[in-house]
């Protein structure tokens, strides 16, 4: 009798463990893919409700895992969201937990872009979060910033909100700049003074950061061409890149940009957004830039895979939404370059498309010339990839397979049960799109492990969780793995 109840307890425990692991894997996958933006298949608000629920659920049930996900390499949107939720929930009572959480939060804030952090801080006010810890976090972050005057100018409205909300002690100059600008005749700090003078002097506009100067340029009605020419030295790298096409339209010489400095996926998005004749004309240059960007991404985070084939989706849905224009296609192109830079004899297979060219591509091909459109037929390239006799097949698709539906799952299942003895292949599905209906990136079917992927550069980090998604490793191992990542993350940022 005792034996029976014992075994029942074991079964329950195993089931509980499995469902908890699924929860966590689902959350981590969602954090790699979800961005709170509109997708091809769903609206922005719908996606936000879904991801918000998922965050609240994991925070309430698995707080330790929740905070450690900050170290897992998930995307910025979700990291900012986790920090906000943690600050809203208040500090944990246990001292060790509190310390770890504090360090993780500060390390995360230091690695996030400043605009995201300041937006996060303003959301503290919207959510009416004003506990001691959040005030301290804001204070420490502002203290850590290398040039507070620059922040105060560039993010003036946000810094103002934050300073007022969290009762920051400001030096008199900054205080006057933020709250009593119009009563001042002049400032000691050069940037503040420029900001003040820019209200009436056209010359002072060009001493300000580009995004702030743009507003003053409109106020002074400075012609766009003249403004772009004179402000160019003050532009950041990504601002220069953004101004490329508008500069060309205006007939101005384009700002110099080192394409290889741009992150891989961002570069892929830029390249496939160019007009097709320009892509063709600059094919060699763009190809080299993409390869250099891929090599740099690999140096930062090495990827060790065996012989790999990629099955890449270029159906109509890879055009993404207005908010995420061409993101899924860009991820596919970037994954091609990343794998080409990492592996030997890598080949990618594309879904059939209207133009019909480029069914398969090697590392030498200019894959950014692909034209997206048509149905999602994953079966054809998947069979081609299997025939290519590789060790790994990575499918990059949004999971909406329709020509015919469910074929990829059946092929993988048939291969694994019937043919894997002769030549085992590991199949993996990387999905750049979050599906709010299922609180995770849409899977292709049970034999395929699905991982979320916003940037191709995160492939390594996502792959780290693939064994948990497929159920090979237990929840304890997952927590240990996350703990290890957290220690490394804290260590790196505090050294």
């Amino acid at each position: 009798m005792k034996n029976a109840s014992q075994s029942r307890d074991e079964i329950y425990a195993a089931q509980k463990e499995a469902s908890e692991r699924e929860d966590l894997v689902m959350f981590i996958n969602a954090c790699f893919a979800a961005t709170g933006q509109a997708e091809y298949y769903c609206s922005r608000s719908y996606g936000r409700v879904s991801i918000d629920f998922l965050h609240s659920y994991v925070l309430a049930n698995y707080r330790r895992v929740y905070r450690r996900v900050l170290a897992a390499g998930v995307n910025d949107f979700n990291r900012a969201r986790i920090v906000l939720k943690l600050l809203a929930a208040g500090a944990p009572p246990d001292k060790a937990d509190r310390e770890e959480e504090g360090k993780l939060i500060s390390a995360t804030l230091h690695s996030l872009p400043a605009n995201r952090v300041f937006t996060l801080f303003t959301r503290l006010r919207e959510a009416k979060i004003n506990n001691r810890r959040s005030r301290a976090v804001v204070r420490d972050y502002l203290k850590w910033r290398s040039s507070p005057a620059f922040d105060a100018v560039k993010y003036r409205s946000k810094v103002r909100i934050v300073a007022r909300h969290t009762h920051q002690d400001l030096d008199p100059e900054t205080g006057a700049f933020l709250f009593a600008l119009k009563e001042q005749k002049q400032f000691e700090t050069p940037l503040f003074d420029s900001f003040l003078r820019a209200h009436y002097s056209k010359q002072a506009v060009y001493e300000l950061p580009y995004s702030v100067a743009e507003g003053f340029a409109a106020r002074h009605q400075i012609p766009r061409l003249e403004f772009l020419r004179k402000i160019e030295p003050r532009m950041t790298h990504s601002e220069r890149q953004r101004a490329q096409s508008s500069a060309e339209r205006l007939g101005k010489e384009k700002p110099k940009v080192d394409l290889a400095r741009t992150p891989l996926t961002k570069l892929a998005m830029y390249v496939i957004g160019l007009p097709i004749e320009q892509q063709r004309r600059r094919a060699a240059e763009l190809h080299d830039a993409l390869r250099a960007a891929a090599a740099r991404a690999l140096r930062k985070r090495p990827l060790s895979l065996g012989r790999t084939a990629a099955v890449l989706d270029r159906s109509r849905s890879t055009w993404g939404s207005r908010e995420r224009r061409r993101r899924p296609l860009a991820v596919a192109v970037a994954v091609h370059y990343l794998l080409a830079a990492s592996g030997n004899g890598m080949q990618s297979f594309w879904t059939p498309s209207r133009s019909g060219d480029l069914e398969s591509a090697t590392a030498e091909d200019h894959v950014f010339l692909v034209e997206a459109g048509g149905q999602t037929d994953l079966a054809t390239p998947l069979l081609a990839a299997i025939e290519y006799q590789v060790d790994n097949v990575i499918i990059v698709s949004d999971g909406y397979e329709n020509a015919p539906a469910d074929a990829a799952r059946q092929i993988v299942h048939a291969y694994q049960t019937r043919l894997s003895q002769t030549h085992p292949i590991a199949f993996l599905h990387a999905n750049p799109v979050f599906d709010p209906d299922h609180f995770s990136p849409k899977p292709l079917g049970s034999p395929l492990t699905t991982i979320g992927l916003r940037d191709a550069e995160d492939l390594g980090a996502s792959l780290g969780f693939a064994k948990f998604s497929s159920g090979e490793a237990s929840q304890t191992q997952l927590e240990a793995y996350l703990g290890m990542l957290a220690t490394v993350f804290i260590g790196v940022s505090h050294d």
Binding site: G356, G374, Q410, I411, R418
Partner: protein, 404 residues
Amino acid sequence: MTDRQKTSSGMRLNGLTLAPPQVLGGVRLVPLIRSGHREDLRLSPRVYSEEFAFVEIDPKTVYTSYVPHGLVANWTTDGGAVYGSQMALAAKKKDGKSYGRFMTARGLRKMARREGKTQLRFLPLHVAMEGLLALHFGGPDIAWTEYSTAVMRTGLSPRSETVVPGDQIAGLDDALRLFEIHENQVGMLVFVSESLASAFVVPHPDDYTALHHTLITDFYGELIWQFGCYATENVMFPEPINMQSIESIADLRREVDALRRRWNRFNTMMSPALFDRAYHSERVYRFKPFSLERFVTDLDPSAENHIGEAIYADDGTLQYLKTYRLSSAQTRRAYLLSQLAGQDWDLERCAETLDCRKNELILRLENAGFGYLLHQHVLDEARATEKKRLKSGLSGVSRADLLS
């Protein structure tokens, strides 16, 4: 029956293959693929921005409806390609006249109107709908005493049917927006809640991409609107890959091909009303080497019925198709009218063929919305007699029950 009218058995989709469907919620969209399309017939949309349109069928008859767009067919007589420049010219042609300032209307002449040597403008679906409304529109040929004087004078006028625009059907807008158009796709079968709402075919793949969005402005049956409200995601799949037969990668490839063929069969099976049913067609316009026809299925009240229009080439290939699913009330109306007309509008004889009493037929006509055909006293008498009969009949039944 003249040579312009004929009865055929089963719609032929020759030259078209059915690709696997794309399902979103309760809407299933089946793409139709044509491998070798012809270049000598092209369709392009012409948008009418007015709220509604009235079309002059003949000097005494006007068809009024919401007409968001018309279709313009351009063709060549020598089999050469129709060029885009001619289609651009087609858009500038004056077509009808716009009236009104706040509530606007467009006056158009004829359902299918020749606009030049090789150009024809017609109003999609309205050609077929006009055929349905005009069915025995003239009214009784023989002045039987039951029919009201108004009907004897003006026929069935005004005859009307209710339809629902596509944007009112739940889920259809999203499904059409997110649909991924295939290469060489020339048509689509639209299923709502697993029943065929409409079939749409055009001659050229480029025409299809240009006309895909017009499916949302087309009209659908009231029944389809109801189906849209109640539809739930219904995922049906054909038999999966046979695992046991796979020994090599070549086997796997063969099995995947077999799976694709099963999808094709599965799709054909899903749309029986279109492919197995007898239908009557009538030629509306002849433009060599094509002819525009409208058709209606055999109006069997127990089955699903469609009306539609089609353009066939002289070699028998289907170049254009658009169908509309009749609701059962609409089917009943058309069925009763055709039965009446078949018996020279004699109520007595018609009741015999329908295997019911004359009074029952009169009440059926009234329920179907054709009460205005008959004199009021005929209706009243039929109602009273039937009521009396029902009472005595019921008491009779109860006595019989007691005895047994």
